[in-house]
Structure formats: C-alpha cells, structure tokens
Amino acid sequence: MEISRREFLKYLGITTAGVSLTGLGCDSMWSVPDEVFEKIGGAPRIETWETSVCGLCSGGCGIKVRLIDDIPVRILGNPLHAVNRGGVCPMAEAGIEALYNPDRIRQPLQRIGERGEDKWQEISWDEAMQTVVSRLQGLREKNAAHKLAFFTGQDNNLSSRLNERFMQAFGSPNLFVFDQSKPSTVATYLTQGHKSALAYNFKDIEMLINFGADFLDEGPSPIRFNQLYSEFRNRGEGRNVKVVHVDSRLSRTASNSNQWLPAKPGTMAALALGIANVVIKDGNYDKRYIKTHSFGFDDWRDPSGNSRIGFKALVEDNYYPEKVAKITGVPARRIVEVAREFGAAKSALVLAGGQAINSSNGVYTLWAIECLNALKGNYADNGVISVPKAPPFREPPKINVDRVAANGLKRPDLLQSISDICFADDAVAFLPKTMLENQPYQIQVLFLANANPVFNAVNQSDFAAVLEEIPFIVSFSSSLDETSVYADLVLPDHVYLEKHDVAYSVPMVDFSHFGMQQPVVAPLYNTRHTGDVILQIAQSLGGTVASSLPWADTKTYLDDHLRGVYETGAGTIFSERMDEDWLKFLKERGWQVFEYSTFDEFRQVLLDKGGWWNPFPDPTDFRRLVKTPSKKYEFYSQVFEEEIKRHLQTTKVSKDEENAVLQKWKVEARGDLAFLPHYEAQKLRDNEGRFPLQLLPFKLITNITGEGSNLPMLQELFGLLTRNYWQSWVEINPETAHDHKISEGDMVRIISPKGSLEVVARLIPGIMPGVVYVPFGLGHKANGRYAKGIGVNPYEIFLEEFDHLSGMSSLTSTKVIVEKGNRKEMA
C-alpha cells in the first residue's frame, strides 16, 4: 500500500496531538493551511549545528547555525567565540532571510537597458568571465592597468586581502574601502605618527567617557558593546564602571550610561578641552608620563629660540568651564564634576565616535578627545590602550610585478591628486571630485564589491554621476543595490552562509583573533565566491598576475594563511570558557587545549570551534610605535608641520605659505593654535537663519549598515523601541515641536537647501532642542522588494560638507526647516 507523505503525516499528527485535542473533538489539522503544513511538516528532522561567522557587518561575530535535514533554520551566537561570546544582534538572527531572499541574484547578469534602468538578461559564467578578462587584457595591452578601480566594503577578512593582492599584481593603486564603521586614525597619526587602529582593554577601568559613539547600536560589533555596557554596571559593589556619554541625542548607548551630557552638535572638542582644563588645574593627570613621554605640554622654545605655546597654557587660558558651558550647553558644574571624577579615577578611558568624527571639525575634535587619554597616561604601558597584532597568518609569496603593473602602480591613485584635503586615507567621499573630471586619468573598468556609495554617501548623486561615465562596471554583489544597478555585468557572490572566509581583527578588540567562516549550506543558486572569481580572472590573465595569485580557489588561499597559525603554535582555538590564568598556565608549559597532530586536524578543530584567539597579547610598546619627530606623544603636532612641508614639497615653510595651506584645508586657526587640539566652530550653511533646526542621522541595531533593508524581519523591527515598523520618522524634542506646531504622530516635511523628506514626527524628550534626528537605513531606491520605496534616506538631503583634514563627510552641517505637512497632500 502506498501512503502519500501528507497522509502519513496527517496520521502522525492526529495521534500525537490526540492527547490534548481529540478529546475535545478536534481534528488537529483542519485549520492549518495546506501549503504551510507541507512546508513545515515531514522528513526525518535530523538536527545539526554548524559554526561560522556572520557577514552582515564588519563585527565578525561567531555564529552557530541550526540545520534541520541540512536546511539552515536559525542563527544563534557561537558561545565559544572570544569576541561576541554567544551573543548576536537582531541583524545576525535575520541572516537566514539573506540566504532565502527572493531578490538574490541567481545567475550572472548583463545589462540590457540604460545605465541604472535595472533591466538585465541572464548570461553564463563563461561568457561573463570572458567579457571581464578581455576588458582587463585590453587595459594591460594599452599599458593602462591603473585605469582599473575597485570599490570594496568591509575589509577585515582575508578575502579582502586577496582583492588587494590582485590589484597590486594587476598594477592599479585604485582600491578604495567604503566601510562606515572603520575607526578614523588621523588624530592618532597627528599625535603619535602612526596609523595603527587602537584597541581598548576595559577590564580594570573605573570610568569611561564616551564622546558620541553609539556603540550599542552601531558597533563595531554592537553586541560586544551591549555585553560590555551591561557588565560595566554589574561588576559588583564598588567595582562598577562609571560611564558618561556625550551626545545631543539620548541614544541607547547614552541611556545605558550613568550620566548623559548633551552637548550641542559639533562642540565636543570644547567639552573635552574643558575637562582637560579642570584635570590640569587639579593636577590630576599622569605627570610622569606627560614629563617623560610627551611633547608640547608646557610652553617650549623652538630651535630658533622662539617661545611657543604649550597645551597646558592653551587649555588653561581658553577652556575654563564657564566658557565651555557657553559653547557646549553643558552646565559648568557638570563639566567640573565629570572632570574631577575622571581625574580622580585610577584608570579612566575616553572613546569617541559618531558625530565626534563625522563633523566638519572632526579631526580637531578627535584630537582634543585623545588628549584626555594622554593626560591619563593611557598611551603608556598601563595596558588600557593597545595595538593588537594581526594573527600570525603565513605571509603569502611575494607579489610579482611585471612592467605593465609597475607602470600602473607608479601612477598616483585617484585621491592623491586632491590637494584640498590633508589626509586622503578615509577620503573616499572625495572620489567623485576627481572622477567626474577624469583626474588624473579616466577609470575604464570599475569593480564593485559590498560598496554602496549611491545609497550611503552624502554625495550619492555625485557617485551616481560618476558611475554613468565609467565605460565598464562589474559588480560582485549578491543583490541589486543602488550602486550595482549601474553595473554592466553582475557576477553574483554567494551569501556569507555559503562561503569560506576568515574574519579577523574586529575593530577595538584588544587581542588578536580570527573567526572561521564556512559554508553551512551548498550554494542555492548559480553564484560564485568572489575570491574564486578574482583568482580565476588572474589565471586567465596569465603572466605575473597569475603567478602572484597561484591558488586554485579561496579555500586553498585561506588554508595557506592558516598554516602560519598552526606552525607558530601561538594562541589557542576557541574553547569552552576557561579561567584565563589557567589557560596561560597550560600554554606556558607547552600544553595545548585541543588535540591535533596535523594541519588538517587543526583546521577541522578550528572549523568546529569557530576560530582562534590569543588571550595573552604582548603589551604594546608605544615608545617604539610612536613615530613623531620628537619620538614622544605630541600635544603640539610636529607631524602636522611635516605634513604641510610634504604637501608644499619644501623643507622651509613661510608663515604665508603655511596660512595658505591651512586656508585650503579649511582650518580657521593660524600659527601655533593650528598645531594644537582646539575647538573650531563647525561649518554650518544656514542661509540667513532661514533654516532654524539642525538635522542629524542615527543608526539602529536592527539595520546597522543600511543593507539590512532587504531582510523583511529587520524592516518589521526597524524602529522597535519607537514602534515605527517599515517606516522612517523624525525625533524632535517636545519643546521644539511645540514651537513649530507639530504634535506626536503628525506627518512633517523636513526641508534642507538640497531637498525634502516626508516622515512621521515622534516627540522625544531625549533629543536636544533645536536638533532633529532621522534614522539612517531606509529609503532605498533599489535592493529588492522589501527595501525599495520603504521610508526615507536622510543622506539625500544632507549638504555636502567635509572635514578637509580627513576628507570625511560631515553629518552635522545641515540645517533644515521642519513644517507640518498636509495629510492629504502627503498621501
């Protein structure tokens, strides 16, 4: 007798559910829709778990995926992972929807309509690869390898290293990283002469002052910071960390702190220096460190005998609490209180982010904030701040550079020719400026991977214009986002749950570590790992390009790197939580936690446990790291002086020349002041007061990168705390709203000189009067059915203002009008 699966299940269902239901005269099946029943019923239901790494932001959280009959059904945190310790954020949990997204690209696509028109035809991989390779060959034949550009996203994984390597071997200096969560290193460079990203040890700190970094919602690795902030107030009586948060919005990070200091947008530098003023006056700073390891704290004499002003005098004369209170809006009493506590704390740390970085005076702001860490002696060997080493991956073979590649690499990259910014490292926002004028040359081929500037740049329309002009664009995206719709060819990547990679060095984590990303499911569609595609392109190009990228596939490339870790025997594979001292004891005596005798066994354990870490890093020797002319931490930045000399290509700079350069970089201060951290009012174009309110963006943990919008679950939970699902809103202080005749729930129009947005108003007392906030993440014009046309993108109406020292976009420079909209008109 043949029983259909459905009948069989029906039978099963009745017998098992019968215990509670049949007695009540119910057929347990009658009300469950057939198609749903078919979906969830059935099969032997074998449950397995696979570890991997989440790929939805650059946080690199370890995950474990629940599979039923080899079908991934849920994502949880990997409890062994040293960074996220079993926690994940809503975004990671929704990752399952990324895998099954109906709008994923399933096959290589070729554009058939106009640029950006979003009309495509499916083509085969062979055909697609041939097109790309012949384009690239054409460039090399014309000795124009530098005319290939590559825009990538998050770069703390090994497959990004592969892209860099490819660009080197091919011969182009034009690889640019679009990662919003990357910490800025400019201030560190100005005071210490190195650009290493800093990491922080929170273990023994007593106090933390956070200037604007919304770590709990934005990360990097937001869940790690949620755990840290929770732990800060649960260490036990007398050991809790006092957290002070500075921002103009009561973000979740602010509300999870002990004290909130609402400072006016763009005035954080003044506040930091105001705190420094009190700390210095009280003599509550690390005098030994300042005396032996810093330069420019006291007044000093230069080689020609001129007296120069020092940081101490500058701060004492200009940033006394009453004056700072006027600038920032924070009462002087509060400033003194916080500064006294900060000074008295045995170990205290200062961190910055958010609007402290993204404002037109961002570098001076960060610089002023960093000085507080110097005052506490945190750039010495107290272990609070460190520069973690990269894991001991095996160095890949040297890149072979042929004549064509050497010629290409000799060319300046697209940002070097911009003279009105000082440090071009983070200045990707300036790319349209050169690219639109084809300076210094026209890009012929553009590769796009995980970069979406047409959505998340303030000058997104400029980026769109740039893309219109580039003759050939290849996108490696797995969905058609705003930037990828401009492509000529889409070579779809796997979703992160389908591919191998190694994610390492999560920003701000103070020990070296990496997580193993592995396919938890076979690729659902005809997509390919971008790493494999790059390797294949290299092979087809032949010559030195091929010999520089000799790996058969990404997996072998990754294994090659991992061998280094295996051979050095450093650190340990993630293990069940063990007392760190015990782990150290074992390690010192040559024990290892896991048993393996070959690399393959080592690799298998790595995959099972999810990754590797070195819990006992060598302390960072800042004395060796600091590379300033004085070999010390510089309150007065001679590095900046050198930078001006380098810019003018002279060794002697006259006052006029110096002033001209400062003018060009939009620095208002002149003379010594320009080389010291100080407060400069930010640039606000407010058209004779016609625009009374200031507009700022904020991010939410439910969509950190803005790319989560094509996951329906994240859209439905977008404004979880304010109950704004599937929609954007504006947060206004009730007082400000009253002044503008706006009530809770009104539709309002936000007008900037650049454009307008229509959103619903939320009256929130945790917003500074005079400032309005719109969340970033929605307002997509592409990127699939769930994202397109939902909500608004505040960046569309932001004015294009920049910090001309770092080249970063300013998100605090836009003034707006908010007016009550007409309900009918809106609909």
Binding site: C26, V32, G41, V73, V88, L216, W726
Partner: protein, 227 residues
C-alpha cells in the same frame, strides 16, 4: 509539578532587541508587511516596551522586555468562550489554535496586551521553502496567538530526559529569548524549586511584577535597575 517562570534583570538588559528577533524566528512568527504594520498588526510575541522619564536634559530612557506573563490568574482564560486558552498544570498559559474562533475577547481582557490576532494568512517567500522551525506549528489566519514560553522546548526536554532516564534539571528547558540574550539578563526555571535561580531571584529586594495590584500574579518578575 513545576511552576515555570522568568526573571528579567533590568540592570543587565540593554534593550538590544535580540530577544524579540529570536522569538520571531523560533516561533515562526510571520512578517506582516508595511501595510498591515501601519494598522498596528505587527506580531511581537516578545516585545520591548520603552518609556522616557523626565525632561531634557535630565531624561532617562527605560526599556522593558515583555513576554506573556503567564499569570497564575490569567484574565484571558476567563473570557474565552471556547476554552481555546487555558492554564496548564505547569502554569503555562497555553493556546489551542484550532479551537480559537477569533473573537479576540482574550486580546481585550489581557491587561498587558500580550495577545496578537493573525489578521492575515502567514506567508513566507517561496524560496524560504522548509526553512522554518519544524518544532512549532504555523498559526493560521483568524486566531489569536502569544508567547508560549516556548512550550515546544519543554516537550522536547521531557522527551530527552525520558530517554536519559533522569529528572528535568535547571537549564534543560529555556525559551528562545532567554537562551539568546547576549547580556544574560534573563533567567528561566521552576519558581517553586528553591534550587532554581529564578526562585531565589524573585525574592530579591529589586524584584517586582507589572501591575501587581490587579491580582493576576504574573510569573515573570523584573529586577529593577540599580541607580
């Protein structure tokens, strides 16, 4: 008989929303989409309530994760005309979906607004196929649903301990929200078992329940923030 309950330590909770997402995935709660959401029909068996206290600049935002409280005296079961919701021997307020006629009396009766009505047919993209939690049935259109304390996990745990021939231990059965809380702010266990963490925590001087004066006796306790 065990009496299952939960303790949520607000001093540990940061309001990240992971419990809400974990719940949605675990219980196969469908996404209703923008139009339905705008009508207030979003299904959140676990929710986070947020309030602001004070006025600028002395403001405090408070967040409070809110599952079903599985009251000892649940008002919802008293109004159900068809006994589609009842309290079982272990204190879990359960729903019998096939029996629910969709009158929504219980939704109105619940003082904590934890009940949700399925206004639309649950839908997932075709591509998603079988990638739902097979342990939980999908609710049809027209019935009320809510937090179940992940009772399906209790079933599984009981089967497991039966196989192993032992008693149920603390931690054998925890709901998805508790399991996935990144800050370990949530505890779950037998409120009557003095060895279980929850029964000790509920005696804390910080412990409180929502709207205790109603006499519903919720089995979810909160530990207040330490100022």
């Amino acid at each position: 008989m065990a009496k299952w309950g939960m303790v949520i330590d607000l001093n540990k909770c940061t309001g990240c929303g992971e419990c809400v997402t974990a719940c949605k995935v675990e219980l196969n709660v469908p996404v209703v989409g923008p139009e339905e959401s705008a009508k207030g029909r979003t299904l959140l068996c676990m929710d986070i309530l947020s309030t602001y206290e004070g006025e600028f600049p002395d403001v405090k935002m408070r967040t409070l994760p809110r599952p079903c409280f599985h009251c000892e005296h649940p008002p919802c079961i008293k109004v159900c005309p068809v006994r589609a919701t009842y309290i079982n021997d272990e204190g879990i307020v359960a729903q019998i979906y096939p029996q629910c006629i969709g009158c929504r009396y219980c939704q109105v009766a619940c003082p904590y607004t934890v009940k949700y009505f399925n206004w639309t047919k649950p839908e997932w993209p075709e591509e998603r196929g079988a990638a739902l939690n097979p342990d939980v049935s999908v609710r049809p259109e027209g019935v009320v649903e809510k937090c179940t304390f992940c009772v399906h996990r209790l079933q599984k745990a009981k089967e497991q301990v039966a196989v192993e021939g032992r008693e149920l231990r603390e931690g054998d059965y925890v709901p998805a929200c508790v399991e996935s809380c990144p800050t370990k702010a949530m505890y779950f266990g037998d409120l009557d078992n003095p060895k279980h963490m929850v029964s000790q925590l509920k005696k804390s001087h910080r412990a409180f329940r929502l709207m205790e004066d109603l006499g519903t006796e919720p089995k979810v306790y909160y530990l207040s923030e330490v100022e």
